[in-house]
């Protein structure tokens, strides 16, 4: 008996090594591919990667900028953890961010008579709810109408953009603007609706000083990641969500209401993306504006959050470092573009390669699991 449990112990260590090594393998492979691409673009990969590093982690300010970029990725990413663990493929982060931002900004602008703490709280809560509802539409469509959520969330992204542009050209328009604008925008939110910068938090002021744009939204993201971990692994609801994602039929057989769990996963994922949106406004941009595209407001965080979550093993604790990593890439890319004249869009392509590698190397995990199951079967026969 002791011998067997010893083996199992060893296996667990190998397993955790595996789950740690696989993303590293994927990133290494992606870095090599990117190096080849850089080579063809007539840029030295070493110079490019050095510029990437300098621009993202080279000094206090660039580190702060990296964390600023990472913040929406963490919010969206932990939402993706919930959704994907629940077997729902949420591609609607962009639209849900916009929904959260629009509603949250509307509150911040409309209720500016409230005291600061109450104003910020209401605004954030409303942002969460709006994102949850936007995600919830896809959830209802999937659970009760059998509509593929990948497709519905993509459509909802497009619809959200148009709604945002409509509102920014109408009721939410900055009063000094008139008529239709190429870059419609809302008024600037009042100072008491703005999230404090990180230097107003003890301890962090010594780390970052008072010149960076890093705001407390980053800390909210960390807290929410922890809460999500608790939800998924320490509560019955989390257990149900994961059961549905792991094996729908088995979950149904065990008496779990599969449809309801799917809807809940989508509500949460949408809500978290909504938080990413509203906090982007309250913490960083202080007004909602767009050039008519989603990416101009979201910075593609709705998609990059998926990349971060996948890379982080669909676990909140992994999503945080992954988000920081991709935040660093996005910030560093601008420096790389300056130094080596390689367009920053290389990073978007790079993210795509990472996603494909991450989902491709999972075959090794599955093969291992299957081999082990076969071995166990054989042993039980003996």
């Amino acid at each position: 008996m002791q011998f067997i449990s010893g083996i199992l112990q060893g296996r667990r260590i190998i397993d955790s090594l595996y789950s740690f090594l696989m993303p590293l393998l994927a990133i290494t492979a992606a870095l090599i591919v990117a190096a080849v691409m850089l080579f063809f673009l007539d840029a030295s990969p070493i110079d490019a990667y050095e510029a990437l590093y300098d621009g993202s982690l080279g000094n206090t300010n660039s580190i702060a900028e990296t964390l600023v970029k990472a913040t929406p990725l963490i919010f969206v990413g932990i939402g993706i953890c919930v959704a994907f663990r629940g077997g729902v493929i949420n591609i609607g982060g962009e639209g849900q961010m916009i929904a959260g931002a629009v509603a949250g900004t509307a509150v911040a602008l409309g209720l500016d008579g409230l005291p600061s703490l109450l104003l910020i709280t209401t605004s954030i809560v409303v942002g969460f709810i709006a994102g949850a509802l936007w995600g919830g539409i896809a959830g209802v469509l999937k659970a009760y109408f059998d509509v593929n959520e990948i497709l519905s969330t993509i459509m909802l992204n497009q619809i959200a953009i148009q709604l945002m542009v409509y509102l920014l050209n109408g009721v939410m328009q900055e009063p000094s603007e008139d008529g239709r604008n190429r870059i419609p925008k809302s008024s600037r939110i009042v100072e008491k609706a703005q999230l404090p910068r990180i230097d107003e938090v003890p301890f962090f002021d010594t780390l970052f000083g008072d010149t960076t744009r890093l705001h407390v939204g980053f800390l909210f993201a960390l807290i929410l990641a922890f809460l999500t971990f608790v939800l998924l692994w320490q509560t019955t609801l989390g257990y149900r969500i994961r059961a549905v994602g792991y094996n729908q039929d088995a979950a149904r057989y065990a008496g779990i209401n599969v449809k309801r769990q799917m809807l809940i996963s989508m509500l949460l994922a949408g809500g978290f993306a909504g938080l990413a949106g509203v906090i982007q406004v309250l913490g960083l941009q202080y007004r909602l504006q767009t050039d008519g595209s989603a990416v101009d407001f979201t910075g593609n965080a709705g998609f990059n959050g998926i990349v971060a979550a996948l890379f982080g093993g669909l676990h909140p604790a992994g999503t945080i470092p992954a988000s920081v990593f991709f935040g660093a890439l996005l910030v560093g890319a601008r420096n790389m573009q300056r130094v080596t004249e390689v367009p920053a869009s290389l990073i978007t392509a790079f993210n795509g390669i990472v996603v494909m590698f991450v989902v491709s190397v999972q075959i090794f995990n599955r093969r291992r699991a299957r081999r082990r199951a076969a071995v166990q079967k054989e042993q039980s026969h003996v």
Binding site: I89, V147, I150, V165, F303, S345, S360
Partner: protein, 308 residues
Amino acid sequence: MFDELLTAGVFASAIRLATPYIYAAIGETFGQRSGVLNLGVDGIMLMGAFASFYAVYETNSLLLGILVALLVGALLGLFMAFISVTLQAEQGISGIGLYLFGLGMSELLFVKLLGTPRSVDGFPRVDIPLLSDLQFLGIGEIFFRHNLMVYLAFALVPISAYVLNYTTLGLNIRAVGQNPQAADAMGVSVARVRYFTVTLGGMFSGLAGASLSIALLKVFQQNLTAGKGFIAVALVYFGGWRPTWVLAGAMLFSFVNALQLQVKTVGIDIPSEFAVMAPYVLTIIALIFATKRREQPTALTKPFERGE
């Protein structure tokens, strides 16, 4: 008001606008019929659009532009097949990866090689003799005054329907998507069929991109497709995996789009944002009813492994 809205010009532009969707969605139909969901269509379209545009911009050869689009599409399709068939990756997610790759890569090449949006002459309009002069109900203007890419797209639909429904190849494709175990037992190579359909789908997506950049719009800029590839995937679901119905979906979607543009020119007072979002709302509603029919290939998105 209606005669101002429903002009022959609107119908003609609906047909033109449908072209990229037809190529992409018909190609995707082949893949999905064999059980593979390729969500990276938009990324392949972008790469095809840029590659063909650049080829035409540099050489002025439309044929070369088409060949380059086919080649790029085939390569990316082959890559997607490798990931989803051989490596059995989760298809919804790997498709997003392919999309991001195409989005970033096409923009990178565009910035590096062209810098600013340029235009090409592209495919000229080819009036079909006699038919294009038909005045009755504006038929001549609606159907017979387009560029070659439009005619080709519409020709591909019946051909694809025939291949899928009446040939051994089509039978194999459907068998592999419906019951891979049985197909395998009958001696059909599941992997080979899926490699074929996904690569073919990639080539169609490449053409879809080319039909945008060198035939319909005749320019290239960042994110030229603006998500059209995703709509194409939705149209496959909407069309119940049958080419003729996929075509009907593409036409409906494009018609609403053309109408939306006309509403603006006629000066009807609907906020343009609502007009722009109308096709997407319509697609969601259509998906609700389309999915009710439940004729989805049983093995869609499920990797196949022998002896399970």
